[in-house]
Structures are given as C-alpha cells and as structure tokens.
C-alpha cells in the first residue's frame, strides 16, 4: 500500500504543528522520519495512519483520496495500518490478551497461533500470563509491537520505538524492524531523533524540523550531504563528521582532515581508507583552559567560534586549531559542539575567539561505515 500525504497542515488551537508536508510512503522497505523532539513526528504519524485528520491537505492511499471515504471504508483502511506509540498504553489484563486485542476486534482466525508466534518473536512467551501493567518500559514496548505484529498490517508506523529502552529490548526491537522491512518486505516507517538509528535502518529518510520537511532522499544522500544546520539540530548527535580510517603507529584513528581522532579498535574497520561517519555527543566533550593529562585519548586545541544559550545550557562551537601556530587561515571545517552549564562558562570566563582544549574519550566516538 502506498500512502501519500499532500500539503498536509495541522494546527492545534492556532499553533501550527505541521506545515505543508508532502510525503510519500512507498510500498516495502523502511522509511524514517527524523527530527528533534517536538518536530511534529507523532502528529504526522497519526495523520498518515488515519487516527487524526489534517487541518488541510489530503492523504492518498494507493492513489485515491481518503477524505471522501465513508466511515466504514475509513475503518477498513485504518485496519490495514498499525501505529505503535512511543509510550504505549497497556490494557489492564494479561500480556496475552493485550496481544490478542486487535485480532478479537476483527474476529480474526487462528488467534492462538498468531498470538503465540508474536510473543515468541518479541521474546515474552515465558511471561505471557502476567499482567501487562507490571512491565518495564522495554517490555511494554515489545508487547505493543507484538500487538501490532499479530495484525499483519501492510504498513507499520513506529513512533520512537527504542527511545530510552534497555539494551535487550532495543536489540530485539531493532532486529525485528530489520526483519519486517528487509525480509518480509513490509512497509515500516520509523520516527526517531536518533541519527545513528536512521542511518542503520532507513532506505528513505525525511528530515522534519519545526513541522516542515527540510530534507528528503535516500539515507545515503541525506548523510552524504547533510543540510546546513542539520547535524546540530539533533541533541543526540551534535557532532557528525565524515572521515577516513587510518592507522598511525598501529593506532586506529579517523582522519577528519584537520584532526585525527582516536577510536576504540573495531574489527570491521580494520582496513585503512574506509570512509566512515564519526559521531560524538556534545555532552561527552570536556573543555579546559590548560592541556589535560587524563586517560582520555583525544585532546585538541580549539578556538571558540560561537556560544549559544539554549535554556540554561550553553552550546559551544569549537574550531580545531593546530597546536603549532603554523597555518592560521585554513579551510573552515564543521565545528565541534560541546555542552556546558552557564556556571562553567562563567567560572572559566569563556568568550568567543578564545582558545581552549577540548577532550573526549575514544569510547565516546561512535563510528559507522559510510560505504
């Protein structure tokens, strides 16, 4: 099933949440809507899965407009699509009955087999008779996924499926996403604020910011040519760089052009010259006036090019400068972002133009192959 949104706008009480969204969800494969929290991802998903209506614009499915549908037709269409919310509500009954809910509504056949199979996939068979109200958020998310899986919907919308979950649940859910999208050729659409996740799964990417799609394309396109302010928009990945794997005196590093950062050795990246993305969370970067003697493997001198107050925390943009003051005017590269508190800024007396050391551990660098 193709779903195609045209000029979708949505306002809540005069506040515009979505503005002129054109989006096409093609059959099969994994699509990904990425954007920071509050960008309108959830609202967009509700409209595309026919749970909510757009203020203006039209949603087409397989080419026909949905606004002309009767109530009955709309229900039938809705039953071909599933949406799993970020904080799913668990019905006050057993896990098993939660999973069976959607099938019972449809008076479906083979309920027992389907439910058992879905529970096996999300690895919850052993506790299926437990109350669903006693679950951890990771288990609840898996139940919610199983509830949608049993319906064998043509399109599966997953709103932030692994945000803040335990590693085991994350792994189970991520494997499932790949299985559904790549093996079963179902249409899966993810919403995430996590670039790495989008990078790993998505065939097609839509970047949503403040209710507008600011970039779209294949995952490769979007990651090769990130829009101007694109990388900095995401709290999770303030620092996204493209570089090349090198070995310097037997140590595996990523050459970012101006500087070379040390990473935790990774087997699949052994060969020199492989192109990679490296990400570092801004909160993992430490600033100091003097060089630090610590266990952290990466420490560089940088010049503060910008400081921005974002509600109590300061985003500091740093441009790496060579320690030996040979070449003062080099080509401008993407800045590093670090987050500090207002108090740190005042105590360290930081100002734009100042030179500081920025330090981060090799284990804080997340590397993925760019192919």
């Amino acid at each position: 099933m193709n779903i195609w949104g045209e000029k979708i706008c949505k306002s809540f009480g005069g506040k515009e949440v979505l503005r002129n969204i054109n989006i096409e969800i093609a059959e099969g494969g994994i699509g990904c809507v990425i954007g920071p929290n509050g960008a309108g991802k959830t609202t967009l998903f509700k409209i595309l899965s026919f749970l909510d209506r757009a203020s203006s614009g039209e949603v087409y499915f397989n080419g026909s407009p949905s606004s002309s549908l009767s109530r009955e037709e709309r229900l039938n269409l809705r039953r071909r699509i599933s949406l799993v919310m970020q904080n799913p509500f668990m019905f006050n009954t057993s896990i098993w009955k939660n999973v069976a809910y959607g099938l019972k509504l449809r008076r479906g056949r083979n309920v027992v087999e389907k439910v058992e199979e879905a529970l096996r996939i999300v690895e919850l068979s052993s506790i299926k008779h437990q109350s669903a109200l006693t679950l951890s958020s990771g288990e609840a998310q898996r139940v919610a996924l199983a509830r949608a899986l049993v319906l064998e919907s043509e399109v599966l919308f997953l709103d932030e499926p692994v945000a803040n979950l335990d590693p085991l649940s994350t792994k189970i859910i991520e494997n499932l996403i790949v299985k559904m999208g790549k093996e079963h050729k179902r249409t899966v659409v993810l919403a995430t604020h996590n670039l790495l996740q989008a990078r790993r799964f998505a065939d097609r990417v839509f970047v949503l910011r403040k209710g507008e799609i600011i970039q779209r394309g294949t995952a490769e396109d979007v990651f090769r040519h990130p829009g101007s302010s694109f990388s900095a928009e995401f709290v999770d990945v303030g620092n996204l760089f493209r570089g090349m794997v090198i070995f310097e005196q037997g140590v595996q590093k990523v050459d970012l052009g101006k500087i070379k950062i040390e990473i935790v050795p990774q087997s699949e990246l052994f060969s020199t010259g492989i192109s990679v993305f490296a990400t570092i969370r801004p909160e993992d970067i430490l600033l100091s006036r003097e060089p630090l003697h610590s266990s952290a493997r990466n420490s560089f001198l940088g010049r503060i090019t910008n400081m921005e107050d974002r509600g109590g925390i300061i985003w500091v943009a740093l441009e790496p400068v060579p320690e030996l003051q040979e070449s003062k005017s080099e080509s401008v590269s993407a800045p590093f972002f670090a987050i500090i508190t207002k108090r740190s800024k005042e105590e360290m007396d930081l100002e734009v133009g100042m030179r500081v050391y920025f330090t981060f551990k090799a284990s804080c660098v997340n590397v993925m192959v760019a192919e």
Binding site: K46, S49, L51, R71, L75, R78, R79, S82, L83, V84, M85, P88, F89, F91, N92, Y101, G102, L105, R106, R147, A148, L151
Partner: protein, 230 residues
C-alpha cells in the same frame, strides 16, 4: 452508662438472633438504595460517556450544572419531590408518596450528579489513555467505547459505591417522601432517628452498628480497588 451497656447488649443479641424487624429494615434499605443507584446509572453513564467523548455546544454548561447540583441539600430535593408526588401535586395520581418508589426516585435524583461528576472525569481520563491505542489497533467507534468502559470498570464502580454510600446514609429526604412507615418504608436511617427520639435505643444501636459496618465495608472495598488499579 449502665443503660447504654444494657442497650448495647440487647442490640447485639438482636443482630445475632437475626431479628425479623431488623432484617426487613436492612433489606429494604439496601434494595431502595441499590435500585436508586441502578436507575441513576442508566441515565448517568450515557451522559458521562457523552461528556467525556464528545465536544458539543453546551457541554461545559452541563458539567458546571452537574457540579452545582452536587451542592443542593437533600432536604430541598425531598421537598420538591414531595410537592410533585403529594396527592394534590401534578403527579399525585400515581400514588407514589410514602412508598419505596418515592424513596428510590428521591435517592436516584440525589445521587445522579455525584455519579455523573465522578464517572465523566474517570471516563475522560481513560479516554485520553485508551482512545488512540484502541483505534490504532483497528477498533471501530463502538469497540473503542467498549474498551474504554472495560478499562475504566473498577474506577467507575468506585464512583457507584461512593454514590451508594451517600444515599444509604441519607435520612431527612428519605423520611419526607417515604414517611418511615413500619413494615413498608422504614429504612435504617429513618428507623434510627425514630427509635432514638422514642428513647428506644436497642433497635437504634443495632441498626447503627449495621450502618457503620456497611460504611466501613464500603471504605474497605474502595481502598482495595484503588490499591489494585494504581
């Protein structure tokens, strides 16, 4: 003090021996109040659902009116009902005055704003939790409403129990429209009031104990239910 102890002793033996008069009074109390809550819920529940699920003009007026009606004193309701169903009143031909049905009607009217007010808030809360989940799993409009009712079941029941406790303990209004006729419309509260005024404490104490046990039981059930849902 001596007198009280003697009365208490006699009261307990009345309860233990399952005195027929006491038994019939307690039975009537329960059947009147339960019937009142039942008829009220036939009206209150659909209204609460409507208030919780739909936004329509006049909705906030109904909500405010319901909240105001909760503050109307029971005797005022008793007076109005009395005037309506007394022999010369507009509904006098029905011959309802001083029958159990008069008490049921008055208690149902008293309890309705309480039940609506509690139920609609409960349903509103559950609606916001359940609605999208049910719809996203393919529920039709009706199936969604049924799911909401199922999820809200124990909270709704708690509201009904609060309403029941309110009316079974009501005295003045029930006396006015029921008349406290022995063997016909004498319920626990009106009997206690009468026997106490007569100075005949045994029956009053026996019924008082039963009424206390009822309210403790109601509280206990409510607490158990709240403990179970949180």
């Amino acid at each position: 003090m001596q007198n009280i102890l003697i009365s208490l002793n006699k009261a307990l033996s009345l309860i233990i021996s399952l005195d027929r008069e006491i038994f019939s009074i307690v039975l009537l109390s329960f059947s009147v109040s339960l019937t009142a809550v039942f008829f009220s819920s036939l009206f209150s529940l659909p209204v609460s659902l409507l208030l919780a699920l739909k936004k329509f003009p006049g909705r906030s007026f109904i909500v405010n009116a319901t909240n105001s009606l909760m503050a109307v004193p029971a005797v005022a309701i008793g007076l109005v009902i009395y005037l309506l169903i007394s022999r010369r009143g507009p509904l006098g031909v029905l011959g309802l005055l001083y029958t159990p049905w008069a008490m049921i009607i008055a208690q149902a009217i008293l309890v309705t704003p309480i039940i609506i007010s509690l139920s609609y808030r409960t349903l509103e809360r559950f609606c916001s939790l359940v609605r999208e989940t049910a719809l996203s799993l393919g529920a039709s409009g009706w199936q969604m409403v049924i799911t909401i009712l199922k999820e809200a079941k124990s909270s709704l029941t708690a509201g009904f129990i609060v309403g029941f406790a309110r009316v079974i303990g009501e005295t003045g209004m029930t006396m006015m429209v029921g008349g406290n006729i022995k063997g016909a419309t004498r319920v626990m509260t009106t009997a206690i009031a009468l026997e106490t005024m007569k100075g005949d404490f045994e029956l009053a104490i026996a019924l008082g104990i039963i009424l206390l046990v009822v309210s403790f039981a109601v509280n206990f059930i409510l607490q158990r239910m709240q403990g179970g849902t949180s």
